[in-house]
């Protein structure tokens, strides 16, 4: 049960609550309030992972989301989530974690041989080799490279957790809750502005949670945090979101947040989402994301046990964990000294403070002296010893010559380092703002705001508690004023301690080692060393973007937050150009890796896309009907009976329609009501056909082109009154036809007095088709005369069906006597069931889309999108008859006049009959002149529709064929892998060419 590195007291963990967890199967203990990282460290575990390329042993480096080494897999419900940062995984009882990228074990990893071979693997090595023998690439080299790369393993099972979403609006969004973020929140909230405060950590407070040597308003910083959070929590206008990362800053102040809702719980309620996406539109954004500490680039700076100094301090003060018993501190910056002091005060032995600077501040040296800590100024670490944990560090003394003299060796079991601080400008950069160099801070800081945003505190390059607080209050006030015009007075806090520390260094440190032998890491996770960056420059990679892509520095899961500045400095040196001329690479979203499920959210299963059903749906399901997806609609495809296969079912359905009667659900067709005195004029301009003379009560087939001249849609249009038309469109075209009409209406012809209304969902439509159609509907239709004389083919009437109003069309897509009855959707089920019952009495049957396709193909009626593909003109489709020749204009008329649309040799719609009537062509098969064309001979066209036709008792097909209309009667070929199929070119109408069956 012992946690040998746990302090006696202090920290924010709950010592009363002990938790058990496992790491690589070993049972360990920690406390509530721990992260996995702090709990591992409490147990003295530093070695937690292996690096990407060289498989070097790696330990926990940081205490935050920028952690590059301590990536683990965590098991839950017998599956694991890879690449979680141990520094962000909150401990819960029973947590099971595993290390990654090692085989067979973390302690002994065969991949570590890469480290020995590393001289062969400098940056970009794979571009230079693996080219011979050529065939080895796919079979040998690439598989090896792929297997070596990658960190964790992907989960094995589908994820059953859910992910939530919330759209939110606020006046001020504050990302980050350190002193500056909290101050900003207090100041903004006090004005009454709507505030959202988020922080990626489990608790609010940021750096204050590990600050023990300062006070705010005379209170311990943590106490002040508690007070501030309580105050904010009590206000209605404030939303507090801990465990919530602002990960994406998009255009127009749209910020995406990822809230981790249950991951920290041992046994979460399954009804809760695992994570929630907040899509926030903020009038003003305050970025209070703080700053992170920079590693120092010295040889072997990557051994387990080497941490950032501030991380060491955080583990101590916040989690009650000493990172070691004998701690060495290497720094170029004041802040690390405090870590040394705090550790010493908790009884750790601080074996030395090595400061790069010739003369660190007197005050610090004095405090060190008082604690008896050895101080080495003007010194650097030039190497470290120890494989799985640091054992000692080599000391180097900087000489005036710039050389380094060996200064011996210092034993330690942990090494804390600080190269200074890097403001977190990721979000600012995402907002498209440009950073500027702040020489004093030695860092890039946010420049001019591009969006309604301001950075504050350490993120703005302001170090020092008092300054951060003051800046935060000002940012909060300013943001609230900008958002709402309101302001309020709020007392600013007074602090003691927490002064800004100065100092810092960038780039690789000098050393006295054999440069070609040692590795000083810049990007830990991707194993990019200082040498690699220099090599890239030597090879002509002059842009920082090239250096990034050639070496992969900054491309790891921390996206360069730790490495960029050091890489930049090294590049700048190698290029002999000032750092500011080299510039940074682009920060992109997400700020930290963000779960796919969060983006996908609720869009899964049936909710992936709306499932649109017609009122006959349940009936069709009960009947055993099968469905096909057409756009978002589910359409009944065919209705097998008694174990029929598709072919048998479709054949039966077709025969039934031709013999007696069939019932078909046409509800999915788009419907548009065109109303107004200029309705006919409008249709006249939209469709190819003439409309003005169409009498009320009659219908006409309409063909719609785009202005380029190609067919885009079709449908039957009925004139209900002088000023009212009922337009139908294809199922898939409904939305786009409506949008196209609105476009012309609003922007080209706004003077027309006509309006269009979509009525697709207003009506359920049943098509009753077949010789007995009239008998079937007659009992239910009232108010009109159904006789052929009174209601000829292509008519429309308003009537009632079983007493409810309906629009009755006498039209046909089958070539048989047919009616389409439109009743309001609510009565659709009643209508369908009534008719379904009735057709049975007449030996009829319901039929689906497949039979509908066959029946219409027998008649040569085209399906837009199947027999046409966006390159087909009315002439091509043999539909010149649909063009109103006398019309001065219609959409597409001018397009049709273009040379190629009028050219000879265009592909035209024809019928095809296979010589062998049993052979059914494949849709999409190509049509050629030669029986066996040489490879590379372009085809004459392709088969667009192909079916077995029960009416003809043979197969039929439609095809688009070059010059097809002139080829009627000729033999062409459809070459298939198994041999060429001879076909005869025919007209497109196969059945009842005279249309006798229609007009009964």
């Amino acid at each position: 049960m012992s946690q040998p590195f746990r302090t006696e007291k202090g920290g924010r963990i709950d010592r009363a609550e002990e938790l058990t967890f496992t790491f690589d199967g070993e049972e360990l203990h920690g406390h509530a309030g721990d992260t996995l990282a702090s709990a591992l460290l409490a147990n003295g575990v530093h070695l937690v992972g292996r690096s990407f390329k060289y498989h070097r042993p790696r330990g926990i480096l940081t205490a935050g989301s920028e952690e590059p080494n301590a990536l683990v897999g965590v098991y839950r419900k017998s599956d694991q989530t890879p690449n979680l940062r141990a520094t962000q995984v909150e401990l819960y009882d029973g947590l099971q974690a595993i290390s990654q990228n090692r085989f067979p074990s973390l302690g002994f990893d065969v991949g570590a041989v890469n480290d020995l071979l590393s001289p062969l693997f400098p940056a970009g090595f794979y571009y230079k080799t693996f080219m011979w023998p050529k065939s080895f690439w796919d079979r040998v080299y690439e598989p090896i490279i792929r297997a070596a790369a990658g960190l964790g393993k992907p989960p094995k099972n589908p994820d059953h957790d859910t992910y939530g979403n919330l759209y939110a609006h606020c006046d001020v969004l504050i990302a980050g809750s350190g002193p500056s973020g909290l101050a900003a929140a207090l100041a903004a909230a006090e004005t009454g502005a709507k505030v959202i405060l988020c922080d990626e950590q489990a608790e609010f407070g940021g750096s204050l949670l590990s600050e023990t040597s300062a006070t705010i308003d005379g209170k311990d910083p943590a106490v002040w945090v508690a007070y501030a959070v309580a105050r904010l929590g009590a206000m209605d206008n404030v939303t507090l979101l801990p465990r919530t990362t602002a990960f994406g800053y998009f255009a127009h102040n749209f910020v995406a947040l990822a809230e981790r809702v249950t991951e920290h719980l041992a046994d979460p309620d399954p009804r809760l989402p695992r994570e929630r996406l907040w899509q926030v539109r903020a009038k003003e954004v305050v970025i209070a994301a703080g700053a992170i500490e920079r590693p120092m680039v010295f040889p072997e700076n990557d051994r387990p046990g080497i941490l950032l100094a501030d991380a060491g301090r955080t583990y101590l003060n916040r989690y009650g964990v000493k990172v070691g018993h004998k701690v060495l501190v290497a720094t170029a910056c004041d802040t690390a000294w405090q870590a040394a002091f705090d550790l010493a005060d908790h009884g750790a032995e601080v074996v030395g403070i090595i400061d790069l600077r010739e003369s660190p501040p007197e005050s610090l040296v004095a405090i060190a002296a008082a604690r008896g800590i050895r101080v080495e100024a003007g010194c650097v670490v030039t190497g470290t010893l120890g494989r799985k944990r640091v054992k000692a560090a080599l000391l180097g003394r900087l000489m005036t010559s710039g050389q380094v003299a060996s200064g011996g060796q210092i034993e330690c079991d942990a090494l804390l380092m600080s190269g200074g601080w890097t403001p977190t400008v990721s979000l600012f950069s995402q907002s498209r703002g440009k950073v500027v160099w702040d020489a004093e801070a030695g860092a890039f800081v946010p420049g001019k705001s591009v969006q309604k945003e301001r950075s504050t505190g350490a993120a703005n390059g302001l170090y020092g508690l008092e300054a951060s607080l003051a800046d935060g209050y000002a940012a909060g006030e300013g943001a609230a004023r900008a958002a709402t015009g309101k302001s309020a007075a709020i007392a600013h806090s007074r602090t003691s301690g927490g002064e800004a520390g100065s100092g810092g260094t960038l780039g690789a440190l000098p050393h006295d080692r054999n440069a070609s032998r040692v590795k000083a890491f810049v990007d830990y996770q991707n194993d990019v060393t200082a040498k690699d960056v220099k090599l890239a420059v030597r090879e002509g990679m002059q842009s920082i973007e090239h250096i990034k892509r050639y070496t992969t520095t900054g491309m790891a899961t921390d996206q360069g937050r730790l490495s960029n500045m050091n890489a930049l400095q090294i590049a700048s040196g190698a290029l002999e150009k000032p750092l500011t001329d080299v510039g940074l690479t682009t920060f992109r979203q997400p700020f930290t890796p963000t779960t796919f499920g969060l983006f996908a959210g609720i869009s899964r299963g049936d909710f992936f896309d709306p499932v649109r059903k017609t009122p006959s749906h349940d009936w069709a399901v009960a009947k055993g009907g099968l469905f096909e997806d057409v756009g978002q609609w589910k359409r009944a495809w065919y209705f097998p009976e008694n174990g029929e296969d598709m072919h048998a079912a479709v054949e039966r359905e077709c025969r039934t329609v031709r013999k007696s009667v069939g019932l078909f659900d046409a509800s999915t067709l788009g419907k548009i009501e065109v109303v107004g005195p200029d309705a006919a004029e409008f249709l006249e301009r939209m469709y190819t056909n003439p409309w003005k003379k169409l009498a009320p009560g009659r219908c006409r087939y309409g063909l719609l082109l785009n202005d380029a001249g190609y067919i885009t849609d079709d449908g039957v249009i009925g004139r209900l009154a002088d000023d009212r038309f009922h337009v139908t469109t294809t199922t898939g075209g409904a939305a786009s036809v409506f949008a196209t009409m609105e476009d012309y209406l609003q922007t080209e012809w706004p003077d027309l007095d006509v309006w269009i209304t979509s009525t697709t969902d207003q009506y359920a439509v049943a098509a009753v088709q077949g010789p007995k159609a009239r008998e079937v509907i007659a009992p239910f239709i009232e108010g009109i005369d159904l006789s052929a004389e009174a209601l000829p083919h292509m008519s429309v009437r308003e009537a009632t069906f079983c007493g409810v109003p309906c629009r009755l069309f006498r039209i046909s897509f089958t070539g048989e006597l047919g009616f389409e009855i439109n009743v309001s959707r609510r009565h659709g089920k009643m209508m369908w069931e009534t008719l379904a019952g009735e057709i049975e009495k007449h030996g009829g049957a319901a039929y689906g889309t497949e039979a509908m396709h066959v029946l219409r193909a027998e008649k040569g009626y085209i399906i837009i999108g199947q027999d046409t593909d966006g390159t087909v003109t009315p002439q091509d489709a043999g539909m010149t008859w649909a063009i109103g020749k006398k019309k001065p204009d219609f959409v597409g008329k001018r397009g049709l006049e273009r040379p190629d649309l009028k050219a000879e040799n265009r592909k035209q719609l024809v019928g095809l009959l296979t010589r062998d009537p049993k052979i059914k062509l494949e849709e999409g098969a190509q049509v050629t002149i030669l029986e066996n064309p040489a490879t590379g001979t372009p085809a004459e066209g392709h088969v667009t529709s192909s079916y077995f036709s029960p009416a003809l008792d043979r197969t039929i097909a439609l095809a688009i064929v070059k010059n097809g209309h002139a080829l009627e009667g000729k033999t062409l070929y459809v070459p298939m892998p198994e041999g060429s199929i001879p076909v005869e070119v025919a007209g497109t109408v196969f059945y009842d060419k005279e249309g006798a069956r229609l007009n009964v």
Binding site: N83, K128, M131, L151, E545, F608, Y710, T871, D900
Partner: protein, 417 residues
């Protein structure tokens, strides 16, 4: 040029890699070139390379406003395939496939062309019809493409969810086995190194700001950030910026530039063996040799030169990926970026002479030109050198929009990448 090989790598290991030379120079521009190529993307660099290698025209400069390969070449999802519908397109992309197969050896630069197969899913009957049409047309054209049942598709790509109970179940797939991926940056670098070695000057950080025309209207040279550069011929290969550059010569084009986004996951061990594309539900995915899942998202709906886009685009792509590969739902997005794609009305490129004598343009590749890089450069070099198109790119004129002789891959419901 120092040749690259394993031996060379081993030799250099002894000298701690101190002796590698530059892969390309950083020359100052000369006053005059025979040919100036504007834009050092893959297509521009390949054009320069083939001008020098195939046509002996070595007095060539490639002028790049940023860093070479930093345009769409550096930000695409690297899908390579040639199973396009129309014979014109299939010929063009297949020409490229032929060149891809030997590109590493030819350039002596490993571009990691990986023929792991590209599988295009069908989710509806219409999709099947379209896929079959492609397969049959491709067979006649000599382009490899085959049909897979859902079970065969799953065999080829084990993570694929072929359950019948998803919203848009997989009904089958078209597979092009010679399709795959390549290392996008290496393609640019390899061509740059090859072209540089043949004497081509690659001038980076030097935007072209004007195109100067002589009295007779023909091209005289380009104005740049580094002054005027005289040129006998100018080839514009600037992808998303083509309208901007061509306007400098007074040439209007049927182009719109849209943001197209892509994203990568965190790196994981090999989990995805091939490339899968679904046009119907908008998902494009493969796994890079580094281990990230590389995922292509859609275009935003408005013209933008911002190289970013909206989150709803990523949402819609990732939801599709998670339906097809539900165990990736717990994976995480590492980085999301955008490029600027220049799209034509028929979704086919323009590789053509222009109304301005001596001015040539190679553009309109939209969301899918990476795969064509070698082929495009090859035939464009021919067009410039001979002042007439190579038979393969002869149909890809600007004039086709006037005459209506489109090569409409979009209308034929073909797919983007």
């Amino acid at each position: 040029m120092k040749r690259y090989s394993f031996l060379e790598l081993a030799k250099n290991a002894f000298s701690a890699h101190q002796n590698w030379g530059r892969q390309w120079r950083a020359p100052e521009p000369k006053a005059e070139y025979d040919v100036v190529i504007v834009g050092a993307g893959g297509h521009g660099l390949a054009t320069a390379y083939y001008l020098a290698r195939e046509h002996g025209i070595r007095n060539v400069a490639v002028i790049e406003k940023g860093w070479l390969g930093g345009g769409n070449t550096g930000r695409n999802t690297t899908i390579v395939r040639s199973n396009y519908l129309w014979e014109e397109s299939a010929a063009l992309y297949n020409h490229a496939i032929g060149l891809w197969q030997n590109l590493s050896q030819e350039l002596n630069y490993n571009v990691m062309y990986s023929a792991r197969g590209v599988m295009m899913l069908a989710h509806t009957i219409h999709d099947i019809q379209v896929a079959q049409r492609h397969i049959h047309a491709n067979r006649l054209a000599g382009v490899q493409n085959e049909w897979l049942s859902p079970e065969q598709a799953k065999d080829y790509c084990p993570p694929l969810n072929i359950s019948k109970n998803i919203r848009y179940p997989v009904l089958g797939a078209a597979l092009q086995k010679v399709g795959g991926t390549a290392r996008h940056d290496a393609v640019a670098w390899g061509y740059a190194r090859g072209a540089d070695d043949l004497g081509v000057d690659i001038i980076q950080n030097c935007a072209v700001t004007g195109i100067r025309r002589s009295q007779d209207g023909s091209v005289e040279g380009v104005e740049t950030a580094k002054g005027f550069i005289k040129a006998g011929k100018v080839g514009v290969v600037t992808a998303g910026h083509t309208s901007v550059v061509m306007e400098m010569a007074g040439v209007r084009l049927p182009l719109e530039s849209f943001p197209l986004q892509a994203l990568v996951s965190e790196p994981i061990k090999p989990a995805f063996p091939c490339v899968v594309m679904s046009n119907t539900i908008h998902a494009y995915i493969s796994q890079s040799d580094k281990g990230e899942l590389v995922i292509g998202a859609g275009t935003d709906q408005y013209v933008s030169y911002s190289q970013t886009g909206g989150i709803h685009i990523s949402n819609h792509t990732i939801d599709a990926i998670c339906e097809l590969f539900p165990h990736f739902r717990r994976m995480r997005m590492l980085r999301n970026w955008g490029g600027i794609v220049d799209t034509t009305p028929d979704r086919s490129p323009i590789l053509s002479k222009t109304p301005v004598p001596g001015l040539y343009v190679n553009c309109g590749w939209g969301t899918g030109g990476f795969k064509a890089t070698p082929g495009s450069g090859h035939v464009f070099a021919h067009t410039i050198a001979k002042d007439e198109p190579h038979p393969i790119n002869a149909p890809f004129t600007i004039d086709r929009f006037r005459t209506g002789r489109l090569i409409d891959e979009a209308a034929a419901a073909a797919v983007a990448h």
